[in-house]
């Protein structure tokens, strides 16, 4: 391709040699093609901390537990998470979603629609399992989700 030029001929007396231009564009194209990758679409759950009670390390008054609590324990032997609600182990996501919705609806009927869903999880629980519970809450139009601090006591094979 060396020596190829544009504008040769009688109508243009000043030919332009485009070979270096093409070489450079080829190199740039190869560079960007190799470094190009299709990115997964990402999103977010907004989880702003409560200004009045959480920020600054002020404790939460938990004398009256008006909440829907989902307990999660890490079963190290079986490498899986045990989810518990109302003293009952829940296996499937659909069942957990239904239980959360029913419990929240009970509070709504008692004129307390702001009652949060509290995720009380062991520190070893994989983040994916927490996101699944958050997703179930959002799917059931429950926006108020709280994270309990500290790990709950182990129960039912959890470690």
């Amino acid at each position: 391709m060396a020596g190829v030029s544009v504008g040769e001929g009688d109508e243009n007396p000043v030919p332009i040699n485009v070979t270096p231009l093409i070489d450079i564009i080829f190199c740039l194209c190869v560079f960007f093609m190799i470094s190009f990758k299709f990115k997964q679409i990402e999103g977010k759950f907004e989880s702003w901390l409560p200004k009045g009670k959480g920020v600054g390390g002020v404790g939460v008054d938990s004398s009256i537990l008006e909440e829907v609590r989902v307990a999660m324990f890490w079963d190290a032997d079986n490498q899986r998470t045990i989810r518990q609600m109302r003293n009952r182990k829940v296996e499937s996501d659909e069942e957990l979603g239904t239980l959360i919705k029913e419990a929240h609806d009970d509070w709504v009927r008692m004129n307390k629609p702001e009652t949060p869903v509290t995720i009380d999880a062991d520190a070893k629980v994989p983040w994916n399992d927490i996101i699944i519970v958050m997703n179930l809450c959002k799917r059931n139009q429950i926006d108020k989700i709280e994270f309990a601090l500290g790990a709950p006591p182990p129960a039912g094979g959890g470690k």
């Binding site: 190829v4 030029s5 544009v6 040769e8 001929g9 485009v18 231009l21 093409i22 564009i25 080829f26 740039l28 194209c29 960007f32 093609m33 470094s35 190009f36 990758k37 990115k39 997964q40 679409i41 990402e42 999103g43 977010k44 759950f45 907004e46 989880s47 702003w48 901390l49 409560p50 200004k51 009045g52 959480g54 920020v55 600054g56 390390g57 999660m72 890490w74 190290a76 490498q79 999880a121 062991d122 520190a123 070893k124 629980v125 994989p126 983040w127 994916n128 399992d129 927490i130 996101i131 699944i132 958050m134 997703n135 959002k138 799917r139 994270f147 601090l149 790990a151």
Partner: protein
């Protein structure tokens, strides 16, 4: 009868490269615009998927933002975690790293960094609810799907301690179909 001489045709065999240059320019433009230059901010992670998340809008949001990536320490000559290599759930706290703009932090050092970030964007007035000045900085937690929840708890607690209250947790949109 005089024979007429056939007119000579001047052949021009140079190839016209202008369409090729045009197409290559377009390709170049596509790859330049599609190149992801935010990779230092966002580490390469396998995020958990969630169908109910709000998709990121790149044209929205003018808040100062810090992205905290939580990922397993990558395999190297000096380090190998057999549990993680085999796709299991590694629960060793020391094996998980906090990354902010490509810099590694540990449980001991993350608070100092988040304090610096928070102090850079303090709100001018005392918040009436909290009774103290809060930071306007937003923290996005991008944790690997296998990351232990304790690490995310650590970031939330640390944010709370340094007066950051705007927290978002990142997840991926599940593939369609």
């Amino acid at each position: 009868m005089a024979r007429r001489k056939a007119p000579q045709i001047k052949e021009d065999l140079t190839c016209n490269l202008i369409p090729m240059v045009d197409i290559m320019f377009l390709l170049l433009l596509f790859f330049i615009l599609g190149a992801d230059m935010s990779q230092r901010e966002q580490a390469e992670l396998v995020l958990p998927t969630a169908s109910e998340i709000k998709e990121n809008d790149p044209f929205k949001g003018k808040d100062a933002t810090t992205t905290v990536n939580i990922q397993h320490r990558p395999k190297s000559q000096n380090f190998d975690c057999p549990v993680n290599s085999q796709g299991g759930f590694c629960r060793e706290t020391e094996h998980w790293l906090f990354l902010i703009r490509g810099l590694e932090f540990t449980h001991a050092t993350i608070k100092d960094q988040l304090k610096i970030e928070a102090d850079e964007s303090m709100e001018p007035d005392i918040d009436p609810q909290a009774g103290v000045k809060l930071s306007a900085r937003k923290v996005i937690i991008r944790a690997d799907k296998a990351a232990p929840y304790g690490d995310i708890q650590k970031i939330i607690e640390t944010c709370s301690a340094v007066s950051i209250y705007k927290i978002e947790v990142g997840a991926a949109v599940p593939p369609q179909g």
